[in-house]
Structures are given as structure tokens and as C-alpha cells.
């Protein structure tokens, strides 16, 4: 082999770059998302399989409908009517009460940063409950 030293160094550098995910991840157990499903409500506005992959498109549709057409009523696949609202319907107490226990689980796992919260105010969780109670006094 001619210029073996240089070429082997180059190959090793290339290999280190190309195997980045293997050595970057090794030793760190990937934690799977742990979703807390609502206790009270059993059925979402669309079937689970649909919501798993297309919820973002549904929410986008809802936003357009509410903001641009002022149409707030959504007829679900089973005929039940819902109010098109991320914060009052989806993240209500009966459904996906906590963003961190539902939305964030998968979004953090797959590195998705939805821009819902550019406009919506992020719902405050546990620590926020006490100060609110104090304000009433």
C-alpha cells in the first residue's frame, strides 16, 4: 500500500463520521414514549390509528376553520359534535389533561417541535395550581 498512513487515517475518520449514531447512542437506553391516556374519555375525535399519524393535519384544519372561516363545530367520524379547540377540547381536564404527559412524550422522542405554542399559551401544570389559588384570595 502506498501512502498507507494517510489513507488509513482518512478511512478511520470517514468511518468515525459514518458510524456516528452507533457510538453516540451506545450505552444510552432510548426511552420509549410513555403516553398517559385519558381515564374518563374513551374515544378521540377520530380513530386512534388516524390520530396517531394525522393529528397534526387535523389540528391544522381546525386552525384554518376557526381562524379563517369562524367555523368552530367539528363533526367527528361517529357523528358526535366537538368544539374545534386545542386548549378546550384536546387539552381539557377530561382528555389529554397534561401536555407533558401526552404531547411531549412522542414529540420529544422523535424530535418534533410543533409550532402550536408560538400562538397558544402553554398550559401551566402542577406548580401553576397553587399560585392560581392564592390569587383568588
Amino acid at each position: 500500500m502506498y501512502d498507507g498512513g494517510k489513507i488509513i487515517t482518512g478511512v478511520i475518520i470517514g468511518l468515525v463520521f459514518m458510524t456516528f449514531p452507533i457510538w453516540y447512542t451506545s450505552g444510552r437506553a432510548a426511552k420509549k414514549p410513555d403516553i398517559k391516556l385519558p381515564v374518563k374519555e374513551k374515544q378521540c375525535v377520530e380513530p386512534k390509528e388516524y390520530m396517531r399519524v394525522k393529528h397534526m393535519q387535523l389540528l391544522d384544519l381546525w386552525r384554518d376553520s376557526v381562524v379563517r372561516v369562524a367555523q368552530r363545530s367539528y363533526v367527528a367520524f361517529n357523528g358526535v359534535k366537538y368544539d374545534m379547540s386545542l386548549q378546550n377540547t384536546c387539552i381539557s381536564a377530561d382528555c389529554h389533561a397534561k401536555k407533558t404527559e401526552f404531547c411531549d412524550q412522542c414529540h420529544n422522542y422523535t424530535g418534533v417541535v410543533p409550532y402550536c405554542w408560538d400562538c397558544h399559551i402553554e398550559p401551566k401544570e402542577e406548580p401553576a395550581e397553587k399560585p392560581q389559588a392564592e390569587e383568588k384570595h
Binding site: Y2, I7, Y115
Partner: protein
């Protein structure tokens, strides 16, 4: 092979490569109840990765075994010469005599495709005059394609690392700069499609290029176009179960492979085509990724007038010096009256 045969061959190959995972993952379970997700999700990707790494090392070692005894850089500028002949920055890059010059030249070559930028195309003008025209569109399409591919590969790290390295969200943000549609449109996916389409049309529309294009040229273009197409379909149109896909990819990376339920056949088509690309890579022109570093016309300095380069594998030459020659024939030379450098041994000794 003519253009139509090449197109049919490479197009047919791609259609078959799409059909294989479709039939195996979509039709087989429905008709025969056989499930082959493990084959397309685990075995084939691992095999492809092994072929990729072993193949690249094999090719590089094979190249490294080729001797390059002499300096053969393509020189595009004035050679280092007498002090009053200009040897400035451009000359240092295009006719380098030092390692620094070579490194600079290689960096510009690898990162900016400089030689492609400088290439011209020859055409016949009016009256058969030869004209050299700038051909920057090829350079533009090539650089857009390569950088988009890099961005796409780096974006895919979100499936292969947990937590993501810091640069992935930055790349995603820049790539989705225009923030339209949902999920946010990444420009790179569509730009790579446009660049590949240009590179394909270039081969098809120019008669000279069409004549020299082979299935080995069309196949990678079709393959990468199909990979980009299935990716775009999965992200924007048909949608995919990203959480299950990440479980599969993380299983591959951490060597604890799993096949989660509910992954669509489109993902397996995408993954199979990527596996084919990886396995095909070492045997194809795509090896220029390693070859660019090993090009003697680029990576050598032009110092032939400064350093003497001796062919290292010259066989030892049998030489017969004059001294030895005279030793062999001295007596005969003296007999014939030829001059000798050393007188013959005195005959008196022998008596």
C-alpha cells in the same frame, strides 16, 4: 447501449426494487399470511450496511495499492519558476508546490466543486468556430444536490440518535425556514428533486451526453429520486407512524433490533431502496466520495522540478561497470594494443 435501452433497464430495475418490498410486506401477509417485516426492517439493512463499509474499505485499499510514483497533478496555472515570474495565490492553489497548497485545493474541490465550476463546454459557433462557453448550471445542480443530500442525511439523525445532537434542530429550522404547510416543508427534499431532475434532463436532452450515458448513470439518479419521492410521500401525504419507525431505527443502531407493529409498507419501500443504495454504493460511480480524496491529479503537489521523484518499485538493474569490464578483458585489450587504466599483473609473479 443506447439511451432507450439504458432507460428501460434502469427504470425496470427501480420498478422491481419498489415491487419487492411492496409484494413482500403488503401482499404476502394478506394472501399467504407470511410476515417478512423482519427481513426488510432488520436483515437487509444490516447486510447493506456491512456491504457498504466492507466494500468501501476494499475499494480504497485497492486504490491505495496502485503506485503513484510521479507527480501528475492537472495544473491550471503558472508553475513555480523564476522569481520574476508571477506565482501568486491563484497559482499556489492551481499549481501547488506545498502541502498547504494541496490542502487548499482539495478543500475547494471537495466543498465547492471548484473544477466543475471552472469547467467549460465546447460548442461550434457560426462558421465552425470553436467557442468555449461557461457551464455553471451543471455546477449549480451538482452542488445543490450534494448539499441537500447532506442536509437530508443529517436531518435523519433524529431517527438514529436519542437525544438528538444539537445541530439537528438547527438544521431542521434552517431547512424549514419558510414555515409553510404542515408538517413544515423542508426545502432540501424538493430542491434535491429539482436538482436530480436537472441532472437527468441534462443527460436526456443533450445528444452527446445521451450517447455516453449508461444504465450506471441513470440507475443512481432514479434510485435517489425514488428514495426522495417515497420520503416526501411519507412526510407530507400518506403519513407514517414516526414513533414506531424510531423504535425500529433505534433498535438497529443499538443492535437490539425490533420490528414494531403498524409501520406502513411505504416505509419498508423507502428503507429497502436506501439499503439498495448502500449496498450498490461501493460498486458504483458513487465511490467518488472516497475517490475524490485519492485522485492523483488533484492531491499531488507539482514539485517535479524541485524534488527528484524516483520510481520506488524500479527493479534492481544489472550493471557492468567499466572497471569490471576491463578486469574481464584486460589481457585481450593489451594484446590488441588498446589503452587500459590498470596495467596487467606482472607475468614475473607466475614464473
Amino acid at each position: 447501449m443506447n439511451a432507450i435501452a439504458s432507460l428501460i433497464l434502469s427504470g425496470g430495475a427501480i420498478s422491481m426494487l419498489v415491487a419487492i418490498p411492496f409484494l413482500a410486506v403488503w401482499v404476502l401477509p394478506h394472501v399467504y399470511g407470511i410476515r417478512l417485516e423482519w427481513l426488510f426492517g432488520i436483515v437487509i439493512p444490516y447486510l447493506a450496511a456491512i456491504i457498504f463499509f466492507v466494500g468501501i474499505i476494499y475499494r480504497v485499499v485497492k486504490w491505495a495499492k496502485c503506485p503513484v510514483p510521479f507527480r501528475i497533478p492537472t495544473t491550471c496555472a503558472q508553475q513555480k519558476s523564476l522569481p520574476w515570474i508571477k506565482y501568486g495565490y491563484a497559482e499556489k492553489l492551481d499549481n501547488p508546490i506545498s502541502t498547504a497548497g494541496v490542502v487548499g485545493r482539495m478543500i475547494l474541490e471537495v466543498l465547492c466543486f471548484r473544477s466543475l465550476f471552472r469547467s467549460t463546454k465546447m460548442e461550434f459557433g457560426a462558421g465552425g468556430n470553436i467557442k468555449y462557453k461557461s457551464s455553471k448550471w451543471l455546477w449549480l445542480a451538482a452542488i445543490v444536490f450534494h448539499y441537500c443530500f447532506l442536509v437530508i442525511i443529517l436531518r435523519h439523525l433524529r431517527f438514529f440518535t436519542d437525544p438528538m445532537p444539537f445541530f439537528v434542530p438547527i438544521i431542521e429550522k434552517v431547512d424549514g425556514f419558510f414555515q409553510f404547510f404542515l408538517p413544515v416543508v423542508y426545502q432540501s427534499g424538493f430542491l434535491i428533486g429539482a436538482a436530480l431532475t436537472y441532472l437527468l434532463l441534462r443527460r436526456l436532452l443533450d445528444p452527446k451526453l445521451r450517447y455516453i450515458s449508461l444504465p450506471a448513470d441513470y440507475f443512481p439518479l432514479f434510485l435517489i429520486l425514488t428514495i426522495a419521492g417515497t420520503g416526501i410521500l411519507m412526510r407530507y401525504v400518506l403519513k407514517a407512524d414516526v414513533v414506531s419507525i424510531k423504535e425500529l431505527t433505534m433498535g438497529l443502531v443499538s443492535f437490539r433490533p425490533v420490528v414494531p407493529e403498524g409501520i406502513s409498507v411505504l416505509f419498508y419501500i423507502h428503507l429497502f431502496l436506501v439499503s439498495v443504495l448502500f449496498a450498490y454504493f461501493p460498486f458504483s460511480k458513487l465511490m467518488h466520495v472516497a475517490g475524490v480524496f485519492l485522485s492523483p491529479t488533484r492531491n499531488l503537489s507539482n514539485n517535479s522540478r524541485i524534488v527528484r521523484h524516483i520510481n520506488p518499485w524500479n527493479p534492481p538493474v544489472k550493471i557492468h561497470t567499466y572497471e569490471a569490464y576491463e578486469d574481464d578483458f584486460r589481457e585481450k585489450m593489451i594484446e590488441a594494443g588498446l589503452p587500459v587504466e590498470k596495467e596487467a599483473a606482472l607475468p614475473a609473479d607466475k614464473e
